[in-house]
Every structure is written in C-alpha cells, then in structure tokens.
Symmetry: C4
Subunit: 261 residues, 4 copies
Amino acid sequence: MQEEIIYHVDYNTLELNNPVMIVGLPGVGHVGKLVADHLVEALNAEKIVDVYSEHFPPQVMVKEDSTVELVGNRLYLAKTDKTDLLILAGDSQSTDPAGHYRLCDIYLDFASEFKVNRIFTLGGYPTGVMADENYVIGAVNNVKLIDDLKEKGIQFNPSEPPGGIVGASGLILSLAKFRNIDAACLMGTTTGYIADPKSSKTLLGKLCDILDVEVNMDALDEKIKDMDQIVEKIKDSVVGEDGDEYYEQAPASDEDLVYFG
Amino acid sequence: MQEEIIYHVDYNTLELNNPVMIVGLPGVGHVGKLVADHLVEALNAEKIVDVYSEHFPPQVMVKEDSTVELVGNRLYLAKTDKTDLLILAGDSQSTDPAGHYRLCDIYLDFASEFKVNRIFTLGGYPTGVMADENYVIGAVNNVKLIDDLKEKGIQFNPSEPPGGIVGASGLILSLAKFRNIDAACLMGTTTGYIADPKSSKTLLGKLCDILDVEVNMDALDEKIKDMDQIVEKIKDSVVGEDGDEYYEQAPASDEDLVYFG
Amino acid sequence: MQEEIIYHVDYNTLELNNPVMIVGLPGVGHVGKLVADHLVEALNAEKIVDVYSEHFPPQVMVKEDSTVELVGNRLYLAKTDKTDLLILAGDSQSTDPAGHYRLCDIYLDFASEFKVNRIFTLGGYPTGVMADENYVIGAVNNVKLIDDLKEKGIQFNPSEPPGGIVGASGLILSLAKFRNIDAACLMGTTTGYIADPKSSKTLLGKLCDILDVEVNMDALDEKIKDMDQIVEKIKDSVVGEDGDEYYEQAPASDEDLVYFG
Amino acid sequence: MQEEIIYHVDYNTLELNNPVMIVGLPGVGHVGKLVADHLVEALNAEKIVDVYSEHFPPQVMVKEDSTVELVGNRLYLAKTDKTDLLILAGDSQSTDPAGHYRLCDIYLDFASEFKVNRIFTLGGYPTGVMADENYVIGAVNNVKLIDDLKEKGIQFNPSEPPGGIVGASGLILSLAKFRNIDAACLMGTTTGYIADPKSSKTLLGKLCDILDVEVNMDALDEKIKDMDQIVEKIKDSVVGEDGDEYYEQAPASDEDLVYFG
C-alpha cells in the first residue's frame, strides 16, 4: 500500500454551501490539532474521508473498546449557517520530507474535489517564552487576503516567522497557489515546549470570528484547566522532586495534551 | 531486487483445515518471536514460503555449517488436529516506515491466498518494571473477538497500550480489516529491556488454549533457565564489576536471547 | 508532486549570446550562494525558471509582505556585453543523497536546453582556521580548462580538497562530463564555521575576471561589514558573556548571513 | 539518474578463460578494498565497466591533475595464466539499505554477463583486539566449497561471525545463490578500528594460493610500513599529547589508509 483514500461520501453529488477547508494537524504545541479536534467534536462533524499512507508511522492506536485504529488523517464535514467546514484532522504528519509533499497534494485534491473557496491552515508559532497573553500571526499565499484578516486581529509581521513554516501548514499554502486556491496560515503564539490549549482557544476565537461561526468552547476550557494543573505539578516537582512520577501519570489522564516540543 | 517471494508449495492446490495465521516477529522483548520460533520447532513445522526484501537490513546470517542465510521472514505450516497453523517467523522487521506497510501487505497476501480464518499477531508489552507475574493483554480489529479471548484470560484494558502498537503486530490488524479478516494482537507483559522467554511461555500457554493445540514447552523452559542465569550474572556484575566481560560472552551462548531494548 | 519545473521563458526561441551557467547554492560558508545571490541583484537578472522538488525540505519562507514562498531553486538570466549568464541560485540542496543526483540532472537539463558553453559551480573550501587572506582553488571536469583559470589566479593543488567535493558543486562537474559540457568548480577558502562574504567577494572578483564582466560590489561590502560586526560581537561575548542574547538577535538583522557550519 | 553503467568492452564477444570475480569494496578495516585495489595495480588490470548510482554518496573525488571523478565502483579485468580475474573495486557502498540490494544485483549481472564460475568477496572480520597474527575466516553460499578452502588454510567456525555479515560481501553470497553461482566470503581478522594492510596481505596471500596466481606484494608492504608508523605516532601522541596535530596530517600522506572504524 502507498496510500489508501476512503471516501464515505460522493463529492460529485454532495452540495456544499460556501465550503472552507480547515487544516489542524499535529505540530508546534499541538495548537492547530487541538483546534481542529475541538471543532470536529463541538460541531458534531461527520467523517467523510479517511487517509492512510505509508508516509505515516507504521503504528496503530488502541481505542476505548480495545479495537485498533490505523494512524492516519481524516476529513470531516460540519455544516453551519454561513459556511460548510471541511476539517482536516489527524494523528500524524509525514515521517519523511517527500511524504509531506505527496500528502499535501492529496489534501489539495480534496480541496479541488469539494470546490473549497478558501483554506485556513492552523499551527503554533514557538516563541520560546511563557507569556500571559498570546496572539495569532498570519501568512498567506495571496496578498489580497491580508486586509480582511488584519481587521479580525490577525497580526502580519514582515518575514515572520523568520525560519519560515515547516510541514503541512506552510506547504499547503504554496501548493494551493499552484491550483489558484486562496489560503492563509494562522499561527497561535506558544512556548513550543508543551501542548498549549490556551493558545488554541485564542486561535479558535479568531477563526470563528473570521468564519462567522459560533462554537461552544467548554471542552477546550476543560483542557486548559488540565494543562494548568500539569504545569503547576511540573513546577512543584522541581521543588518536591516528584516530577518523574508525575510524567508517568500524565499521558493516561488526557492524551491530547501529550506533547513535548 | 525489491522483494523475492519464494513459494515451496502451491496455495491453489494445498488443502488446509481451518487455517489460522500466527505472526511472531522480532520486537519488544522478542516475546512474539520466541513463541513463533518455538512453535515452528516444537510442531516440526514445514517451511512453505521465503520472503526476502530490500526493506530488510542488507545482511546475511552465518549458519552452523558456515553457509549464509539472507535476512528474511518465513512462513511455516504446522498441521494439528483442530487447526492448521501458518506461522510467520523471521529475522527482522522493515528498516524504514514505508517498508512496514509494504511487507505487511505481503503477509496479508499469504493470509488471503491460504484462506486463513483468523490472524493472531504476537508481541511484547513493555511495562518498564521487573514483575514476578506476567499476563497477556489484547487488541483486536473486530470487537466481536473480545469475549472469547477474555474467557481464555486475555486482558482488555481501554486504550491500552497508551502509545499504540508500533510495527507489524499492530499494522497487520488494521490492514487485515481492509480485507475483512479478523485479527487479534496478543501482547505478553515484559520489562522491555531484555529478551523475555518467561513472558513468551505465558503468551504461548494462552495461545495454545485459544487454538486448542498442545505444544511441548521444554525448549522454552530451557531458554528461561538460560535467561535467568544471564540476569543473575548481570546482577552480580553490578557488584563484582565483571559485567563487561559477561556481555561479550552472552551472544555466543544462545543467540535467541540476544536482545537489549 | 515529485518535481515542479516552471519555465517563464521558452528556451526554444530564446537567443542567447555565449551563455555560461553559474551555480551558487547553499553550502560551506554560503560562499557560493552569496556570490550567486549578489550577481542576481547587482546585474538585475530576470528569473526564467522555478524549480520545486520533494527532495527539498517541506518548508516555505515568509516574505516581507507576509506571503509565502516555497523552498526551491531558481534560474536567472543576466545579459552582459560579453556573455549571457544563467545563474542558478536558491534556498536549499537536496535533503537526501539520491535527490542530489536527480536535481543536478535537472540543472543540467537547463544547461542543455539553453545551450550553455561552460558551467562554473561556486562553493567554499573549509580550512578550519581564520585567515587574513583568502584565495580560490579550482577543480575541473576537463583538464584543458586549467591553464586559463590558472592565469586568472585560480589555484590548482593535486587531489585537493582531500575529501573531495560533496553536493551539487562537485556532482554537476561529473554529470556534465556525461553530456560533454565543460565545467569548473571554484572554491573560496573559508573557516567553514560561519557565513563568509569576504571569501565570496574574492571569489566573485576572480569570476568576473574570468567572464570579463563588471559587477558593482557595494552590497557585498555591506554584508562584509555586517559580518565583521557579528564576529566582533561574538568575540566580545566570550568575554562579556552576553553571547546567547546576541545569537537570538543576529538572524533577524540579515538572514543571508545565518550560517553556522 | 538512478544508475549509470558504462561498459568499455562488449561482454558478448569477450572471450574469458575460467573467469573468477573478486569483490573488494570499502568496509571493516578496508581489508577487502586494499586487496582489490592492490590486485588492480599489481596485475595492471584494465577497467571494463564503470558503475555510478544515486545510492552512492553525492560526492566527487579530486584527482592528482585536479579533475574530478564521481564516486562509484569499477570492474577491472586482469588476465593470468590460470584464470581471468574480474575485480570489483571502488569508493563506496550504498548509503541506504535498499541500495545495497540493488547494487549487488547489478554486480551479479556482471557475473552473469561475463559468465564467472565463482565469486570471492573480501572483507574484514573485526575482533576488537590488536593481535600479532591474523588469519582468514570464511563463509560460503554452497557447502561444497568448504573443503577446498580449508585445505588452503581458510578457517570455518560454526555460525561465525556471530552478528552475520553486513553489506555487499555477505549480500552477494546470498543473491548469487538465487542465480546458482558459487560464492565465498573471505574475511581477514582485524581490530576494526583502523585500516589494516597487514590483514589485507594475509588475505591476499590466501587468495593467491586459492586462485593459483602470483602477485607482487611490494606496494602492500609499503602500506604496512606507513600504517605501522601511523600507529606508532598515535601511541606516542597519547603520551606526548600531540595526537590532534597528527590526525590532521595523516589523511594527506596516504589516502588509502584513511579509515577509522
């Protein structure tokens, strides 16, 4: 197997209202992944495509009911008043450089097939420092997108991030340009060291504003509380030296927060 | 060469009685490998397929008679009263992620060709701690398999192992689902640091019970004794500081026990 | 996508005057890259081909105007009195060994299509020591090229560099020989630890002399000053211990000088 | 380019007398490479095939006359009274596992095309200790070869080397078996830390005896002297602490001896 793409709907007959694609895959601080996963749950989105590939790790996850699920990415559909959201979420990015290019081409095939008007890729922007406030910076594949996004509070700083954007979030922007699809990358600032649901909430807020969609954020608030406790324990452990024990327990409590940059 | 698959029987004419596939390849604690290798010897199984692939290490092993044997995997057939066992055993897993997917597809071609009803993949479940007792946990690709396995003493814990299953043991389950073949992964608990024939014996006991097959365990008991001595020497060496010397000698005495996680 | 080659001119109809190809890609001390980038700017060269490939890192750079640019290489055309220069410049070399061979074949397709008479690949020659003076050593794919280059001050030392030449600079010479295109590699001596615009200036001086082309060097002089300040600060920081702080700031000031060997 | 195979003779018309293939590529202690390179020089062998491949490093070597030579392997022909030797020598083995398989298949195509009766692959057998005497151990792809080799003093120890044989030396044996060509691997014992022309001389002596060929060993004796001096200097440097300086100079003096295991 090279790739196994399983469609659960027929894109030829599916009628979508102003379709927009949202991409939130694992990455810096899992900021983008947490937003996409939250959107899928909060909007009760329907899974419409499964993507498996030999470019993903050779690994299965075990579900609550002890059945296995092959590592892969998934495209979901959430219908809202103003727009139909095609949300790409999943477990992994490519394990090798060439795979990134090939998988992003597959994701853009979805964008073409479902005739999306615009793509938003979501990610984290590592600052290296703990900050009370976080914000969202943007990059685009078409300069015309900037003004509207600025109005919604997205920051655009010249040539930032200085090292560019690595992985699907950036690649999709450039490859979408080859297909004449407008795309923006929205990055929530984060330390880069741990999963950051707080940054995800800020990012989700901006995204909802841009899309004119309302989303219940309770589950994300829950994750923020969990993460605050984890950080608190880590701080304690530096003093109390029970840090090792803590790390052992953390993953079991909430798998979505398992991220160490 | 990409792959070289050599059949020693013709699967079109071979008549099998309730064929079941057992997969025991190198992995955590070599728990699965030791079971498969033991089954091949104890049941005097016949080699029916050789699998060579450029995804295996570019390496040959040297046999007792100084002839070389290319690193590869092998499918064996052992006929028993209740069921015919197709045992996949071998020297290595893929050296690269994509190779895992491709090799597992080849193994499942065997399952299709020989019309197996069910697949059991065998592995180790690393706990990180030395334990007097070990047990077997399971994961499946069809929830219907669980009740029968539970009755035989296989434990099913929600979402366990937490990190999923890496390599052929897990991948075969998911890829078998694409072909509508029921498959379960049985994992013997083990430290994850050294080869563990004791865990293999527990796993083999459960497997025999599930398959209603009787297998002489003497050779495995022998390996357990060898390993106990090795562990004893390692413990001594920490005190006596002759540990280095020991490691030098160990591989020669019993190659099957050479495993350091 | 494997490769995406976008021509902005038609090589079948383009009439070139004595075309020579100059290759300056990232490498030791960025000596070659700095020369090629400078030539493009100073000669106001026109971009005629874009090269994208899955062998490049899966990464985009963000431009001044916050639009993204996919990592790739670019072929430029600069018309001068005596010769038309086809300058290959870019962001990266291949991430994998095989990719180097494939990309260099693509670059040589350009050489064939645009009917270049000669290729000069530019690189750095790491000496490991800081030196007041730097010079240019050469290697060729045709011994007939040596005398003319020696006359221009290029040094040829037997079997130097002792470890050979790694990457596109060397590979292009050998692969060009398969196509009967004469090619020389010119390497400016450099420490190998940091970007070295001073070495680039020496190299550019020799190249201009060989090509009988005049190029304004002001921008390169500016980079030399910047780099001198950076080195000065690094030296200070060893004493003043504010080095870490410094490194954080450096990349932002002039991205072309970000190179640590 | 994937592979570039350049024949300088036509194997359809070339008449060979009892052709035997000798393979001596870089590896443990460069023991095999030093023998093959010496045979080429001492027997004044003619180069009949060039092999280039993207599985080799993307690198060129610079020759005495400052022209470059692409990293690759070469097949040479040396005619002797009793047998015509096809000697495979070269700069590198594959950079990736799959490449080993593909390149060895190419080498065996030569064996088929030139109708060789037997293949000898040459390598080093790392013992980890300095020894006054060295010897040659063997492995074969056909048990019938052993008796004759034993008579010539090749040692055959059960299952030795314990870790098998990695790379072309072993792979060629197994892949040759698929083509029904008899092949033996002869390994000179060596420390595994440095190039070992002394082990090469022992190995060459045995090989000449097996092939009934006489070869002048002066150049190899020269290398042994050089290496003895290098080792002497290294020992001194441990006392005198001028070791670093020494290492800097060594490579330049005799490139064939540059090997650090």
